[in-house]
Structures are given as structure tokens and as C-alpha cells.
Symmetry: C2
Subunit: 130 residues, 2 copies
DNA sequence: ATACAGCTTGGAGTTAACTCCAAGTCAAGA
DNA sequence: TCTTGACTTGGAGTTAACTCCAAGCTGTAT
């Protein structure tokens, strides 16, 4: 699979993909004799994983560490589990914040909708109570 | 309320608060005759709103636009509602991605837990199926 | 064989959102 | 009054994560 194909099916740029490989967010991808990247099924799985993790703000640094541990083999199973657990805590905490923000936005929007519906502009303060 | 008090009760640095005011993420805060910031209840509400929105990745640019519209008065009610609705879409989309990442992390961690529990290291591929 | 579009690398540049700094002002305590 | 620590401003510096670039190689179509 060429870099172009991976990019098109995963909505990512070649530059980002090469950057991920360069810094170690994904393991090194095999090349053709000409030196062109040829992504295997497994490479693509790593790419998907990286994209998913990055979507939730998991730092590049953490992904690099995970790949490094993975390549060291079975002796690092616990360390990897711990790293993932840490990432999970971070993502969960972020998720909670996003939910709180969503609640606030919903509240504010509903107040705007009401004001626009009734024509009564009954507030000029930025209030929000949980 | 001094900048220090606001910072301590809201876990934010003075530099960030001054930056928010400077670029317009929050309206201008009143000063004492000596020129020192004196946050009102309403100022603090704006700060809380900014922190909440930034927690969910709502861009500074959007918050600036909102404050600007707010200060223009009732004529901008619809524009503000639309801006908030847009922010809500973005936050919801991000939230969904975070949830997907959390699901993936939970799956991976459960596989690690199993491997560590049984002593069977039964995979060496980065699989994940929804 | 010759275009020519697309790939390669190493390295430099960009962006958003802070974060720090220097030089100066202010205010409470000895 | 003097010291001392916190505040002020405008502007420069930092960081993470890309994103772009130049110079050169590849490989399919004419």
C-alpha cells in the first residue's frame, strides 16, 4: 500500500505520516527496492492507532514511548499496560471536561433560543449554574 | 478581587489571565486608581466561561468573536447563538472522538490485563475491532 | 529515451496558545 | 521614609505538532 493510498483512506497528509514514522509514533515502514514506502496491513493498524490516539490528544511523546516498549518485546508488557492506563486516565479526564463544556453550551444556547423566540431579552449577564 | 485570588480559585496563571484580557477572550477588567486589576463578579463569570470553553478546545479566536458580539449589544443575539451552536458542533464531534479513543484504550488494556493474568502472551499485533 | 508526476530525505518554517522578561509603579510593614 | 514583594505594560520567547521546502530519485506513459 502506498503512502498516498493510506492518506486517502485515513484522511491524513503524507507529511504527517512521514513525520510520525520519523519520530517513532509508528514503527519503520518497509520500502520497495527503489526506497518508496510500502505499508503492510500491520503498518496501517499502527497508523490507525496513532490517528485515534492523537484525536484524543494523547501526546506524540507517549505514543513514541509505547512503540519503543512494544519493540523491546514481552518484558515490557506491564510497562505498556501502565502507559495505556495513564493515557486512559488523561482521556477520561478530558472527556469529562468536554461534557461539562457541552452542558454549558447547551444551557447558553437554550437561553438564546428562548430570547429569540419570545423577543424578551431578559439577561445581560453571563450566568451559568450547573 | 485581585488577579491572585482569581488565579488561586480557578487554577490559572496571572500571565494567562492577562493574556486573555489583552486579546479579548474576556472583556476589560476595571483597575484601582493605582492601575491594579479588580475583578468583579461578572468578570469572574467571564473568566470561568473562558476556562470552560478552552478546556474543550474552543479556539481563543472564537471566544474573542463572542465577546466582541456581546459588546455590540442585542442586535447580535442571533449571531451569538449561531457562534455557540457552531462551537457545540465542534465540541460534540471532539467528544465522540474521545469516546472512540477511550473504547480503544479499554479494549487494549483488557487484553494486556488478560495476558498478564494468564501468562499467555497470545498476540503480537496491534488489533482493535469496534 | 524522455517527460513528468510522485516519491524520498534532512532540515527549516509555521501556528496557536501560552509563558517569560525587563523596566517601572504601587502599597503595606518596620 | 525606606524596603520589599506584588502588580503593571509591551514585547519577546517557548512548545507541541505539524507543515513546507529544496534537491534529488523513481517509475509509468508516450
Amino acid at each position: 500500500m502506498t503512502i498516498k493510498e493510506v492518506c486517502e483512506t485515513h484522511d491524513i497528509t503524507p507529511d504527517t505520516l512521514r513525520y510520525y514514522e520519523r519520530v517513532g509514533v509508528i514503527p519503520t515502514v518497509n520500502r520497495t527496492k527503489g526506497g518508496i514506502r510500502d505499508y503492510s496491513e500491520e503498518d496501517v493498524k499502527w497508523v490507525e492507532n496513532a490517528i485515534c490516539m492523537r484525536n484524543a490528544g494523547v501526546p506524540v511523546e507517549m505514543l513514541i514511548e509505547y512503540v519503543k516498549l512494544f519493540q523491546e518485546g514481552d518484558a515490557t508488557l506491564m510497562a505498556r499496560r501502565d502507559l495505556l492506563a495513564e493515557a486512559r486516565e488523561d482521556v477520561q479526564a478530558q472527556l469529562d471536561k468536554f461534557q461539562a463544556t457541552l452542558d454549558r453550551l447547551n444551557y447558553k444556547i437554550s437561553r438564546y433560543e428562548e430570547a429569540l423566540r419570545t423577543g424578551v431579552l431578559s439577561w445581560n449577564e453571563e450566568t451559568y449554574k450547573k
